[in-house]
């Protein structure tokens, strides 16, 4: 356990990026299968924008860091909303407070730079894909017409008491089904979640303008050099980490 009594964050600016070797966990709120986790000690944390992500690993580890989308960024703190299903994610969900992590970022193009900001959107999140959408809603409520958040089971509702979820096991409905009910012409869509959900939305809204999907892949470097996250688009190969993560659904014929 790398719990130290006095975490001393070391921050270095590498180009336009922030790299912190002493971020420490200060709070955690666990639901069934999901958790909200806050890391503190991050200089200029507030620079992170909706849609951006951080590469995080345990301090001193040689493991490949994992990408986490930002749920909130304030002062020296970053809050994440994570599914507790991988090694690092389980770690974030269970280690003692003050445990230190190494993180770098924020990476990725902010959603606001990818979308038409004269447009209003329905945000559709699946599972932990809700994180960047809730961050966008907090920063730019003017862009949001509706928010639809879907979960397979009702494990995360306690983490967001003010929000209504579509729970598949209870409502016999998935997020994209609810989207079909509430969507009306003129509204755009920003979706983040598992690929089957993104596929369903891309098919449902084939030909509809302003439909954006936030893609996920196991990222390597996070900065666009290793090409581990390249995907084909109508305008050529693009990198999820550097050119995305948000893409116009019309650019991704393979998703439909």
């Amino acid at each position: 356990m790398e719990t130290t009594t006095k975490p001393q964050p070391q921050t270095a600016r590498n180009g336009s990026f922030l790299s912190v070797s002493g971020a420490h966990l200060i709070s955690r709120n666990r639901g069934a299968g999901y958790a909200r986790v806050t890391l503190a000690g991050i200089t200029e944390a507030e620079l992170a924008q909706p849609g951006q992500f951080l590469m995080i690993r345990r301090l001193g580890s040689a493991a490949l860091p994992r990408a986490f989308s930002v749920l909130r960024a304030e002062d020296d703190r970053i809050e994440l909303f994570i599914k507790l299903d991988g090694l690092l994610r389980e770690l974030l969900g269970s280690v003692p407070y003050r445990t230190r992590f190494e993180l770098r970022g924020p990476y990725g193009v902010p959603y606001e730079e990818q979308i038409d900001t004269d447009q209003r959107y329905i945000l559709v999140g699946g599972g932990s894909g809700a994180a960047p959408l809730l961050f966008l809603r907090e920063r730019r409520p003017d862009l949001v017409a509706e928010t639809v958040l879907g979960f397979r089971h009702d494990g995360a509702s306690g983490l967001f008491p003010a929000l209504d979820f579509v729970v598949e096991a209870r409502d016999r409905l998935q997020a994209h089904d609810r989207l079909a009910e509430v969507w009306r012409p003129g509204l755009g869509v920003i979706a983040c979640g598992p690929e089957p959900m993104l596929r369903a939305i891309a098919r449902q809204h084939d030909g509809v303008p302003h439909v954006y999907v936030s893609l996920e892949a196991r990222l390597g470097c996070g900065i666009g050099s290793c090409l581990g996250c390249s995907i084909p688009t109508l305008t050529g190969t693009q990198r999820i980490c550097r050119d995305g993560p948000l893409f116009a659904s019309s650019e991704l014929p393979w998703l439909r």
């Binding site: 590498n14 790299s19 040689a62 892949a217 470097c221 900065i223 996250c229 390249s230 084909p232 190969t237």
Partner: protein, 307 residues
């Protein structure tokens, strides 16, 4: 302080820590100060024609490493020379251009065209990519000899040959490369590996197998470097495979590498190579060594001078 320059090396590197071909791309995404702190950058492999690379997923987690299946995604040689090379030449470090082709005349043509560019510091023939359909040339000594011969005739640049870490074919392939005129060996490429999705019983990668990199392959790379140094006392060797800390870099030098390539390590942490350079300098100073040359191959001659 110890000086990190390794003059024994044909490239006259400022530090033996170099960026291996692949994860660092063409160096553009890395911060300039991080690039300046390494001895050289080896570019992503360039092929005669553009390659889109393999479909997702390209990266699969493994215990102590990563299975990768990038598939030599690159813009092709013409676009590389036109759009990428000028920026590569602006990088504040030495540059080694990595090349691959299916036929020896194709790789020779690229090597020949690069001959006019005096600012590049070397070429590396990647004869060992595990993630494309072509046969792995690097396990066949006769083919290795032919690829190197055709390229050697067309260039005066220092030439390295990147081989697979195959324990039975590596020494004959390395001998063929060196006999055909290669200046050095880059050992090793990632190691062919497989992961199966236990929920559905199918390979996780479209191409079934991928290249295992990361700490898991450090012992394999060390073994091949050690064997190559024993067999070829005068060859230049870039030891690459799973180094993620200064202790690993020191092991690689002691096994006989003239330089230490960092691949997975820079993917996990882009600032790692610069940190290794600094930590290696500190280690050498503390151990009263004047330069990395003093510890290269130490494992073959009684180890370090431990007081």
């Amino acid at each position: 302080m110890a000086a990190l320059s390794t003059r024994r090396f044909a490239l006259d590197l400022a530090t033996p820590i170099v960026l291996a071909s692949g994860p660092a791309g063409f160096g553009f995404e890395l911060d300039g100060s991080l690039v300046a702190a390494v001895g050289a950058l080896t570019t992503k492999t360039v092929t005669p024609e553009p390659r889109a690379g393999n479909p997702q997923p390209r990266l699969v987690d493994c215990p102590s490493g990563l299975l990768n299946s990038i598939g030599l995604e690159n813009p092709g040689f013409a676009a590389f020379v036109e759009e990428y090379l000028p920026r590569v030449l602006d990088l504040p470090t030495r540059r080694i251009i990595s090349l691959a082709a299916d036929r020896p005349d194709e790789i020779g043509r690229m090597v020949g065209l690069l001959e006019e560019i005096s600012e590049i510091d070397g070429v590396e023939l990647n004869l060992s990519c595990p993630n494309v359909d072509a046969v792995i040339i690097g396990t066949n000594p006769a083919l290795v000899g032919e690829f190197v011969r055709q390229s050697r005739a067309l260039t005066t640049h220092p030439m390295f040959v990147k081989l697979p870490g195959d324990s039975t074919t590596m020494i004959p392939a390395a001998a063929a490369a060196l006999n055909a005129g290669a200046d050095g060996l880059t050992l090793i490429n990632s190691v062919s590996g497989l992961r199966i999705d236990h929920r559905i019983g199918l390979p996780m990668l479209h191409r079934t197998t991928g290249g295992l990199c990361g700490p898991a392959i450090l012992p394999i790379a060390l073994a091949r470097v050690y064997e190559a140094r024993r067999a070829f006392p005068d060859a230049l060797i870039i030891g690459t495979g799973g180094v993620t800390d200064v202790e690993g870099a020191i092991e690689m030098l002691a096994a006989g590498a003239d330089a230490v390539g960092i691949g997975y390590g820079v993917m996990a942490d882009p600032s790692l190579p610069a940190r290794l350079t600094a930590e290696l300098e500190t280690w050498l100073t503390e151990h009263r060594y004047a330069s990395p040359a003093d510890i290269i191959g130490a494992a073959h001659r009684g180890g370090f001078d431990v007081p």
